[in-house]
Each structure stands twice: as C-alpha cells, then as structure tokens.
C-alpha cells in the first residue's frame, strides 16, 4: 500500500505558490509541450547511435516533425590543413588517410595525383592500373560500410554483418598489398611503393566473382522490401537544382538525376581505359541514393574485373627524386571519392613543404544539404537522411 501513503516526496517546485498571472507567464516559456504551437528543441549527438560519429544535430520539432535543423560540427577537427604546411610533400601523404578513414585509398590517390600534377609528372601505366583496382575496391568497401550502417539506422540489423563480411575480403586484399587495412597509405607520389603481390589479380577476381551473388543478396533483403521502400522513398528529396546549388557531389548528386562523375568528366588514374556506366536516379530521394550506390558497387566490380584482365608491365614509380620540390604554382585536382568530389588544392612556393593544402571534403559539403533534405520529415527520417548522405566525420571536420 506504499502508493496510497500521502508521501512528502513531491518535487520541490510543488510547494511554491505562484499568483495566477505568474503561472500564465510560465506557460509561455515552457519547453515541454509537444502538441501546441511550441517548438521542441531536441539535440541529437554528438553521442547518439546513429549520427555516425560525432555529428551533433539540433532539431527544432513540431511534435515529431522537423521544422528546422542545425548541424554542429568540428568535434573531430585536427587541423589537417595546418599540419600540411609544416610537413614535406611525402610526409603529409599518410595524414590524408585519416580524413575519410573508411576510404583511405581514395584519399591517398587524390593527394598523390594532385602532387604529381603539381610536379608535372605522370605515374607509369602499371601504377595507374593498380591504383584504379585498389581505389575501386575501396569504393566498394566504403559503400558496403554505408549500406550496412544505413540499413542499421533504418532498423534492418542483418545487412550490416553481411556487408562487413565482404568488406573484410577487401581489407584482406589491402593488407596483403601494403600491410595495412584501414589507413593504408597505399600509394606514393609518382606511383606505387610496392609491387603488386603475386595473387592480387586472383584475389580481386575471386572477390568480384563472389560479390555478384552477394550484392544480389542485399538487394533481396532490401530493395523490394515494403518497409524499406516505405522508409526511404520520398524521404529527403533533393532536386537536381538544389543539389547543384549546394555543391553536392557523388552518389547524392547522381541520385538527383545529374549524370556527372569525375571518372568520366575528367578521367584520372586509368579510368579512361575502362567501360562503365554512371547510374543516376530520378527523384533524388533516399531510395534513389540507395539504388545508385548499389549500382555503383556493381560498376566498380566491373571496373576491377576489366582492370585485372590486363595490368601492363613496367615500372611502378615515376622518377620524382627523393626530395620533392615542385615548381611554384598551384593546382587543383579532384577525384571521384566514394562520397563525392574529393579535391586537393595545393599551392607550392618551390620549397619542400606545401605552402597551402586545401582539401575539398565531399562529406562536409554534402552535409550542408542536410537541412534542406530534413525539413518536413519526422525524427525517424532524420537518421535515414544522415545515413543516406554518407558522411564520415573525420572528413567533415578534418
């Protein structure tokens, strides 16, 4: 009968007696109401299971509907661009791996090619092909991680583990190639440090052969699933005009219907030698982005298969010398990283250290469109939209 005992455990505030008008004033400043016109400010992150790291989002809610949002970033800021100014060109290369740490190979490729452009040298063909293979594998790995976590955000537990299983195969290939799995530092300025190991082709081929069935497995779990479609279709629509205005790139842009891929628009590495399609979406919603990325994985697989067919023989490192002193000048080089356009703007003053390295992080710029995408949706959609942009906070904050 504990409940019926007239307890004195009332909250302290209960003993105050306010005049009636005071009570009315309190109502005006209340934050607790959900139904009324009052807005509820809810804070997601930086410690929240589905903000993919330390993103913090302040949501202004009307009930469960989002009427405004603000991303607060910078929790992972390490001053990479500042560090670059006090390192030599070679010394800085490993740092870029730490930005988009789920696609370190792509980061490295962008940086090495930018410096090569600055030096006005070209990597030998063999190096370019091997770079292409590894980068495309990395794209698949990155997309797999995205797929798993995105599906997990939407409540599908199982795809994550399947995705990790395949990603593991890719990481094993990286490990065999350069000894590292995550932050690989696989490439060197001017080409490659290591010769491809003996079974690189065979490993890649085996992975690609298996992967076809595996990707069909994921699609079976999700693509036609009523709940999945219901949760993603029409969510976070970004029109092509908006996407361009926001500078959004990569799969997010393509899902909005813009057929643009740097691998085609300004081919780098060895992409001009291979045939592949650029998948595009129509409506630019979360479902389209999902479909686009799935198709991209298939295309990457095709590129890998084409590339291992014919890896040219020859040197793997161009003659760049031990000390890099690029002639003064500046260069901007962009590659199609898994998340979008990853650009390096490097200014040289003729010394061994870059005068300025500016990194154009695709996640950072794509994340800007978040507010536009999230307005009018429910809280549950917020996590779907964060997932669909595919951000890596290491890259957003640098």
């Amino acid at each position: 009968m504990g409940e019926s005992k007239p307890g004195n455990r009332e909250r302290a505030v209960g003993y105050f007696r306010f005049e009636e008008e005071t009570a009315l004033n309190i109502e005006a400043t209340s934050e607790h109401t959900i139904l009324g016109a009052d807005e509820l400010i809810i804070n997601m992150g930086p410690q929240h299971p589905s903000t993919h790291g330390v993103l913090r989002v302040k949501l202004k809610l009307d009930g469960e509907r989002v009427i405004g949002s603000e991303c607060i970033i910078g929790y992972l800021h390490r001053g990479v661009e500042k560090i670059a100014e006090s390192r030599t060109y070679q010394q800085f290369a490993p740092y870029v791996d730490r930005m988009d740490y789920v696609a370190a190979v792509s980061n490295g490729l962008g940086y090495c090619e930018a410096i090569e452009k600055l030096l006005v040298v070209e990597a030998p063909p063999r190096a370019r092909v091997i770079r292409t293979i590894l980068t495309e594998l990395q794209r698949i790995a990155s997309h797999l991680l995205w797929l798993g976590t995105h599906a997990l955000d939407i409540g599908a537990l199982t795809p994550l583990f399947y995705c990790m299983r395949e990603r593991e195969e890719i990481l094993k290939i990286f490990e065999k190639y350069c000894g590292a799995r995550l932050t690989t530092h696989a490439f060197r300025i001017g080409g490659l440090q290591y010769e491809a190991y003996d079974t690189l082709e065979k490993d890649t081929e085996r992975f690609c052969k298996d992967f076809e069935a595996r990707i069909a497995e994921y699609e079976e779990l999700l693509t036609q699933n009523r709940i999945w479609v219901g949760r993603t279709r029409g969510i976070g629509i970004l029109t092509a005009e908006d996407a361009i205005a926001f500078g959004v790139t990569g799969p997010v842009l393509r899902a909005s219907g813009v057929k643009w891929d740097i691998r085609k628009a300004a081919p780098y590495a060895a992409y001009d030698q291979y045939k592949f399609e650029i998948p595009v979406g129509t409506t630019g919603d979360t479902y389209d982005r999902y479909i686009v990325r799935m198709e991209e994985m298939r295309q990457s697989r095709l590129i890998c298969l084409q590339a291992i067919e014919n890896i040219p023989a020859g040197p793997i490192l161009a003659k760049v010398g031990k000390v890099l002193k690029p002639p003064p000048g500046e260069v901007y080089h962009a590659i199609e990283a898994p998340k979008g356009e990853l650009g390096y703007y490097v200014v040289s003053d003729g010394t061994v250290q870059p005068y300025r390295v500016r990194i154009r992080p695709p996640s950072f710029i794509n994340l800007q469109a978040f507010d536009r995408m999230v307005r009018g949706h429910l809280v549950a959609d917020v996590v779907a939209i964060i997932g669909t942009i595919d951000i890596v906070l290491g890259e957003v904050d640098r």
Binding site: E85, A245, P328, G329, E330, D349
Partner: protein, 223 residues
C-alpha cells in the same frame, strides 16, 4: 620561408589595374603572372642568370570567356592566366559577388565546388579568396581569385551559390576573413571561444598552447 619569393608581388598586384582587355603580361609569359601565387617570382626575381629555364607552367589565358568578362567588368578583372592548364581569373575583391553571379548565369558555372583562402602575410593585401567553380554544361573548371587585405570585408557569394555558406564560415573560422552579407557568419569547426585564426601564417601554435596550459592547468607548458 614561403614569402621571400613574393617580395615584389604586392607591387605587381595593384599595378594590375590596367585598361581592360589588354593582357599585357602576354609578352612575358612566365615572368608576369601577376597572380598571387609564387610561380612568377623566381624567374623574375632570381635575376638574369637563371641556371635552367623552368618549364613554362603559367601562361596567360585569353579565351572567349575572359574576353567577355573583360568586356563586361573592365578593370575589375585583374588577371587571367593558366597554371598547369587550369584557368585562373583574378578579380577585384569588391566586385566578387557581382562577377560570381555573372559567371553562374552567363558563364554557366553552376557549381561552386570549393571556396577557400590562402594567406600571404607579406603582401599588402594578404589574403587570396579562391573560388573553385565548375560548369556542368561545359565540363570546365575555373578558379576565381580575389585579393583581400586583413580586415577588409569580402562580399559573400552565399546569394549566388548556397554551397558557399559553410565554406565561407570555414574561411572565416580559419583566416578571420569577414564576408559581408553572409547570413550566419560564425565559427564552424573550431569552438566559438577560440582565439586566433589557425590557418594564418603568423598563427602561433606554441603561444596558444602555453596560454592554454597556463590558464587551465596553472603551470608552464614546457613546450
């Protein structure tokens, strides 16, 4: 270290106020980029006995777009050049937004791919604002540069490309360049109470560290 070659730079930049349409540097290709970037300096500054003539990386740019821009904005287009085949147009800072709007609408540069800055502390106008534009229609990139002095207000291009919002905030955060007309100019990556602007060349990390350790731990930092 980076600044030595640029000694004479400042002089050449303001001098860029030449009559429109006269790409004067054309005659001395490598020597007169008039651009902020270091390139031009060594050949010119290093005096006649250049041991080995370097590969010509910087060439003046004089294509149809530049002609059109010069026709429209006249003296506001300070310089047009190519560095390693990449087009760079230097414009007057005050008219940056206007030129940007023109580039977006007439030049079809519909995407602002990047916006950043470079600090040249020894120059009179120490900052370069760099806009990296891309045109889907032409599959072409263009870099627009503007020189800004410390404390000078740069017109914001948020009205032209929404993408500039966070990018300008980042530039403000890192360089302390104030953009006039930006809707919400505040620090983005660093905490609001951060002192100083880290990507300026004269930003002293050591001093920051000592100050912080002193203030928060009450001891000498020992760095």
């Amino acid at each position: 270290m980076a600044d030595e070659p640029k000694e004479q730079k400042p002089s050449s930049v303001p001098a860029g106020d030449k009559p429109a349409g006269s790409p004067s540097p054309a005659s001395t290709p490598a020597a007169k980029p008039a651009d902020s970037a270091a390139p031009a300096a060594p050949p010119r500054a290093a005096a006649p006995p250049a041991p080995k003539p370097p590969v010509v990386l910087q060439t003046p740019l004089n294509n149809e777009l530049v002609t059109r821009l010069r026709g429209k904005f006249g003296a506001a287009i300070l310089e047009a050049m190519e560095d390693r085949k990449q087009a760079i147009v230097t414009v007057e800072c005050a008219r940056l937004a206007e030129i940007a709007l023109h580039l977006r609408d007439e030049g079809k540069f519909d995407m602002l791919s990047d916006l950043t800055a470079v600090d040249w502390p020894k120059r009179e106008k120490r900052f370069d604002i760099i806009l990296n534009l891309y045109s889907f229609a032409k599959n072409e990139r263009l870099r627009v540069k503007a020189h800004a002095a410390d404390g000078e207000k740069v017109p914001s291009v948020v009205g032209v490309w929404i993408a500039a919002n966070w990018l300008e905030r980042e530039v403000f955060d890192m360089f302390g360049i104030v953009f006039s007309g930006h809707p919400d100019l505040k620090r983005i990556l660093l905490p609001d109470e951060w002192q100083g602007y880290p990507l300026r060349k004269d930003y002293d990390i050591l001093q920051q560290d000592t100050a912080w350790v002193k203030a928060n731990l009450g001891i000498e930092s020992g760095q």
